[in-house]
Subunit: 672 residues, 2 copies
């Protein structure tokens, strides 16, 4: 590249872009770690976007109607931190840039939304950001339909790299965005043709332009270092009714000795090469130093949105009080107080009618009363609507024609669904929930983990939660998935036993503001085990005494979900033989672990044998079987230690020995 | 559809296809469960393929040079079972079809390769089969390059549905297949435009023809019920040097009242509708009954491959003894005896030189001696070659030009890589291993689980196995992944502590024939802890005493991987204070659990406090901390209970308290 020509053609632009490049070089060098090449390659695009097009106000990073900027190629995090610093986001001081990738800095290796305002979403695992962005754009459309374009009218801008587009989740995302015609979504594809292993030609020959076009996108190809071309492309993208992809031909590590090489992807810390690159840019500032004229231009960029923000504030103030309070409540993530009384009424009704219902059907009953009260819910399923019981009558379908719909047919795209839901939750104003079979947690794990890490209040409606799904067989039968999810930090995993616990589980899930919830629900019908009405949400304690021992307490049975009724049947048989047996329902181990030790000891006192019953692997149970004063000689497990099999559900429970008879036998064996 | 016209145009073809349809209708009705619509829709394609093109011999389902048939839309399993029955695969009796989806039948809800010969791969989770098929085609190309086309020259045929193509993993697979120009791979896309939720138009607008073309495929569009068109398309696919996709316009549940509807996707069991469908086909046989003339036509189809098989056998016998034995050893999955002496020599060298090496680098050292001895290895990485240390000097790159290469640049496609490796392992003749960061297990979980379920001996080289990766931060730091993988049935998870254990881990992995292995390897340098040479593979015991207590044994420290040296340092400090401390290295909990109880008790006797140290969550440790005669009051854990953070690795271990000092303090606290 002829840098001089670029500089001469657009001197002010060049200076501004050079500021990003200089800061990226300095911060990576200071950390001796990071990725320099992407910020050097995308600085021109970022400069044009932020300077001339993006609507934002650094003084109020949480302005509801700001444009959203998603850095899908999150390893280039210094690009984002440089932009936030230069445009005047308060938290992003020069000290923070100097502490790039250090303990307790907000400038982590990859952008982490929970560390500072201005970072919209946690990225780094490739393909996530572009897939989150679909959720951001859906949330914007949905809120615009609900509150009107005076309050909601913003864009979602995405930077994505070759790696993002190689990841399969990106195909799910672009197909969904194209289908839904999310016209306010614009992706800049950093087409530098370099990955870690070398040129992309080592592993890829895909024509991305044709691929996006095949999914209904508006596509342009431009020189990613030409500010005029970038600006024109943005205008054209805005004018087109389809989502837009702008393939930007760029040079990774522009102007550095490592330009256009795989080395350029990583940390460029050689001091001489660094100095040479700065010289090539014509950069005169010292390390972490921005010359005054360039600083001013960036400050002006940061102030450009103030007027638009003010106008918007005026429109908000002119909005009727009722509408405004609804809008503000939605954006704050508050759940209407009415939810609690609604859930209580449902619990009462369920206790009284005591239906035999699959918990997935109980979940539908809960949604039927929740969705009319919590108008922020945006439901959906990865093509298992009838099986996941996720669609209620009042929602309507969200699609290209109907933005007021509150239900999304995600197609057979579990990963794309989860990533989109993360985007919706982090956009704010909507509360996404989505369903698939519990075993397909596997397909969506990349995004499911990020729900927890990024504090996104997503609700996963995971049905068919065990061998109880029957004939579809081991490919569809989760066995290790409860263990997986319980091992994942910041998850609440709830496996309710009946319609009452399912209602409680939904209340818990919706009241969570800082993290995701997994509901593990049965395919098969389950009897009502909570036959006495309690207004209190007992499931919120994680575990509680469901049935007390009569006579001397010799055994404690713990169970979740479909196995709670197995435990109750075992208790009945044991009591008939004079063996006092308590049953503890344990819908959520995480919530139980959060209770006071005294409560836990009351629920699980030491002086009895313990048997846990769950149609999954034992791993998460050892703590409750053996800990809290238990001992191995006094503890047993009834569950799975292999994959399942294809047969009717009843037969599977028999064959795998998950029955009340087996439980009774285990208790007796432990009692000796 | 005008069935009469179809029948009249090709009467014999129609009869044969009707046999598949009748069996699918009968079996699903008998099971009252399953998916009828796909077999009814794809019967014509299957009939043409099996009758006129596919090379197979039902008398020898494991004939090495057979064509492979992959049912990616595995819910249509009755199509496969019907074909296997009709063409004469011995195990697929009519009784088995009558027992579709019943306990211990081989006719499971979805095809399970380990239940019977003739089923190549376990499918059902959508998108897997088409992605496995890329591995099958790679294995064929690789073996052909190694052994010549007299011994290896076969096709991989795939049936895939809308769901398979919506799953992101399919994009990874088609991009890879197009890039590698896998010309002997042919995919029939069942374009029936119906999914479970309804018409595909609910969720998708992708032009699949354009999408496959964008990835370098040869694409055709045909009427999937016209046998002539199907035959011609197959010929054209074979003639083209690219992988081929044939988009077949079909009618789901053809001829049934539920034709072209979402209901048609599922179990069609209504007896009147079933009878009407059979009548529309002109079907005269009773339930599970095949009229003699049709039976004969299918038997002839089953015998068509006998001559080709015989010819091939002649060519095998004419092959030189040396080449033949190498070919047969490769196909049998045998690992050369020389591996053991090779590993021993490496261990001796590592013990003597006692390097400080990251275990990922130790893994490279192991591969450097393994790859020249085990010529079946096919290595690769999802664009982290230099980080995963997976490429050794002698391998060469497998690409469109060089089929002799033994290393694959998979691109940033973890899921596609894992699925392709499953395909390679199940094809046989090659031993795939592939690398990525351990945390990206999440991206590949869909296929990683199927490695275990389908008994595929795949080796996952998962580096950067903890917060020890440092600055990249929590998105890249596994925390729950050891727990996840240990919870998954049929996995061996190995987290070696040094170069010696890493060599042992590779030996264990390669000697596994019936399941996958995960190697969790450090980014950071680790000292050699096995300073005394033992020829025996100690890691194969799962856990063993690495350092004995001096004096009275008061504490046992258990650790894996990078934390073993932390345990040793803690032991030194404790011993200095007179506290006798044993260190147990536990590279694999699964292997330790498989040892005799007497061995386990010798390693973990009851009379000492126990502390486990591992930079992951506690969940899998409770068994070893609390079980085997331990008690909570005497057990502690030093590890993670949250996500990690972005900072240099050394600081992270300090901040999260995973240090010898913290271990010493915990032991003292427990001793009181």
């Amino acid at each position: 590249m002829d840098l001089d020509a670029l500089r001469t053609a657009h001197p002010d632009h060049w200076k501004m872009a050079s500021a990003i490049r200089a800061l990226a070089l300095d911060a990576v060098a200071a950390a001796n770690s990071g990725h320099t090449g992407m910020p050097l390659g995308m600085a021109d695009i970022a400069t044009v976007l932020f300077r001339d097009h993006m609507s934002f106000d650094p003084k109020d990073p949480e302005w509801a109607d700001r444009d959203r900027f998603i850095l899908s190629n999150g390893h280039g995090s210094m690009l984002l931190y440089a932009l936030l610093h230069l445009t005047g986001y308060e938290e992003f001081t020069i000290e923070q840039l100097k502490n790039f990738r250090q303990w307790e800095s907000i400038t982590a290796g990859h952008p982490e939304n929970f560390l500072a305002k201005g970072i919209e979403v946690t990225t780094g695992p490739l393909g996530q950001g572009i897939s989150n962005s679909v959720g951001f754009a859906i949330a914007e459309e949905s809120l615009r339909a609900r509150f009107g374009n005076k309050l909601v009218d913003h864009w979602t801008w995405v930077f994505a790299g070759d790696g993002c587009l190689m990841e399969g989740v990106s195909q799910e995302a672009i197909a969904l965005a194209g289908h839904l015609q999310l016209s306010k979504l614009v992706v800049f594809f950093d087409h530098n043709s370099i990955t870690i292993d070398g040129p992309t030609s080592l592993a890829d020959s895909t024509d991305q332009v044709a691929r996006f076009e095949a999914s209904g996108w508006h596509v342009q190809q431009i020189d990613g270092h030409d500010p005029e071309a970038i600006g024109k492309a943005i205008e054209a993208a805005k004018a087109d009714p389809r989502p837009s992809m702008i393939q930007c031909e760029t040079h990774i590590a522009l102007g550095h000795a490592a330009q256009d090489t795989a080395k350029g992807h990583g940390a460029l810390t050689d001091p001489d090469q660094l100095a040479a690159a700065k010289e090539a840019y014509g950069w005169t500032g010292g390390p972490f130093e921005i010359p005054g004229d360039i600083k001013s231009m960036w400050e002006a960029t940061g102030e450009r949105g103030v007027a638009a923000h003010k106008d918007w504030q005026g429109r908000l103030e002119a909005t009727s009080a009722g509408k405004r309070s609804k809008f503000e409540a939605a954006m704050s993530g508050e759940i209407p107080n009415k939810l609690t009384s609604t859930i209580r009424a449902l619990k009462k009704q369920m206790t009284e009618s005591a239906p035999k219902l699959a918990t997935r059907a109980s979940s539908e009953k809960a949604l039927e009363v929740i969705n009319p009260v919590v108008l922020e819910t945006l439901g959906g399923s990865a093509d298992l609507t009838g099986s996941n019981n996720t669609l209620t009558a009042d929602l309507g379908i969200f699609d290209a024609e109907n933005r007021k719909g509150r239900y999304i047919h995600y197609g057979i795209r579990e990963h794309g669904m989860a990533a989109a839901m993360n985007g919706m939750a982090l956009h704010g104003g909507v509360r996404p929930y989505g369903g698939t079979f519990f075993t397909f947690t596997d397909y969506a794990r990349g995004a499911i983990r990020l729900s927890a890490l990024s504090h996104a209040p997503v609700v996963y409606v995971m049905t068919h939660d065990s061998i109880g799904l029957g004939e579809d067989g081991p490919t569809h039968q989760p066995v290790e998935h409860l263990a997986m999810m319980r091992a994942t930090p910041n998850y609440v995993v709830l496996r309710p036993a009946d319609a009452v616990e399912t209602a409680e589980a939904w209340e818990i899930a919706l009241l969570r503001k800082n993290g995701p919830t997994i509901l593990a629900l049965s395919r098969q019908g389950l009897p009502t085990v909570r036959t006495e009405h309690k207004t209190k949400n007992l499931s919120a304690q994680g575990g509680y005494v469901l049935a007390e021992a009569e006579g001397k307490r010799q055994a404690i049975l713990m169970a979740t979900g479909s196995e709670v009724s197995v435990a109750l049947a075992a208790r009945e048989a044991l009591q008939a033989e004079g063996i006092g047996t308590r049953v503890v329902s344990m819908p959520s181990m995480e919530l139980f672990a959060q209770q006071e030790e005294s409560y836990r000891k009351r629920v699980l006192p030491g002086s009895a044998v313990r048997v846990a019953i769950e149609a999954g692997v034992r791993q998460p149970w050892d703590r409750w079987l053996l800990g809290e004063r238990g001992r191995e000689a006094k503890a047993g497990f009834i569950g799975m230690d292999s994959f399942g099999a294809s047969a009717p559900a009843g037969e599977l429970f028999e064959q795998f020995g998950i029955t009340s008879e087996a439980t009774v036998a285990k208790v007796k064996e432990l009692l000796g």
